[in-house]
């Protein structure tokens, strides 16, 4: 393209800050990736499949949910749990779209693939004209850290043997507790989480794990009837 306007903030210093932000976020994602790899391997997923899922799915919480639910239920219920978790990505994707503007089809496919919770947050931070550049730098960093950390956790975790002795069976619920943290700090978040947890526990008395998790989603219904409350 002949005349791409260079955004004012796209000076070398802004670029250096962007790379630093991308690496910091990538390192945080790496901690999650190692935990996912270890948990997946200890649940019986072949390490190569855990790594492949990090490449093709590239949405951490849903991969965690897939392994947790599939291990105790079946892979399709596991996939449905992950898909419901990922519905939120539609929101980020649609919100980013007007800032991304026009580009080639392969470019748009790349932009979409690189959308994660973390890369979208970084992309939104800068001026609108820098959105695509920021999304790609952050997305590439998150992706590289995520896949490498999954491999480290999956192949390393496979060597550990009895995972209960290390308390690694607690990694699943503990990781989900950690994932809840930002939501719990939002108004109404604690009540929503408690409702979901209680529904799942009650459901667990009569149905298997997979459906019990899906039923927890019903907790959003009261919030939908009172649209004035903030999320």
């Amino acid at each position: 393209m002949p005349s791409v306007p260079v955004p004012a903030d796209d000076a070398p210093s802004a670029d250096r800050r962007l790379v630093l932000d991308a690496v910091v976020v990538g390192a945080a994602v790496a901690a999650f990736g190692v935990a996912f790899g270890v948990a997946a391997a200890s649940a019986g997923m072949p390490p190569w499949l855990a790594v492949l899922s990090s490449v093709v799915v590239f949405a951490g919480a849903s991969q965690f949910a897939f392994v947790a639910v599939a291990a105790t239920a079946d892979p399709i219920t596991g996939a449905v749990s992950g898909i419901l978790l990922n519905l939120r990505i539609i929101g980020f994707s649609l919100a980013l779209a007007p800032r991304l503007g026009a580009t080639t089809l392969p470019g748009r496919l790349l932009d979409g693939y690189l959308i994660t919770d973390e890369s979208a947050a970084i992309a939104f931070e800068g001026p609108p004209a820098a959105t695509r550049h920021r999304l790609r730098v952050a997305g590439a960093s998150v992706g590289i850290f995520w896949v490498a950390a999954t491999a480290l956790g999956a192949y390393g975790g496979d060597l550990l043997g009895d995972v209960r002795a290390y308390g690694l069976d607690v990694a699943f619920p503990a990781a989900f507790v950690a994932l809840l943290a930002p939501a719990l700090r939002r108004p109404g978040g604690l009540r929503l989480a408690l409702t979901g947890g209680i529904i799942a526990l009650l459901a667990l008395q009569v149905v298997p794990t997979g459906p019990a998790v899906l039923l927890a989603g019903l907790a959003v219904l009261p919030a939908l009837r009172t649209p004035e409350e903030s999320a």
Partner: protein, 106 residues
């Protein structure tokens, strides 16, 4: 057979991957021509909290009541309340359970 190996697991991951990619591509491919109905957008935004809480509950009690595991999850909750970063929360949970098991308490 472990449900995380073989064609069943591959199919599950393929399904999750395709749906997720479709969600990610909605924006870039529609390029601003599509918006989500507000109620659906809100549901999509709130669902993760409810589902992840459901995952905490089911993963904690999936094998009945295991005292060491419950203690580990409670320790993780305390770590979150103290604003510990992700890795520390998981570590605190695992170390608590491992410690109680090694001590033969639970």
């Amino acid at each position: 057979m472990n449900p995380l190996t073989g064609p069943g697991a591959w199919a599950g991951i393929a399904l999750l991957a395709l749906a997720t990619l479709a969600f990610k591509l909605v924006g870039p491919l529609a390029a601003g021509r599509v918006t989500l109905p507000p109620r659906l957008a809100r549901a999509a935004q709130l669902l993760p909290t409810a589902l992840i809480a459901g995952l905490v509950a089911t993963q904690t009690f999936d094998a009945g009541v295991d005292d060491a595991k419950v203690a580990g999850v409670l320790a993780a909750v305390v770590a979150v309340a103290l604003r510990a970063p992700f890795a520390l929360v998981v570590l605190v949970g695992a170390v608590t359970a491992a410690g109680l098991r090694a001590a033969g308490v639970a």
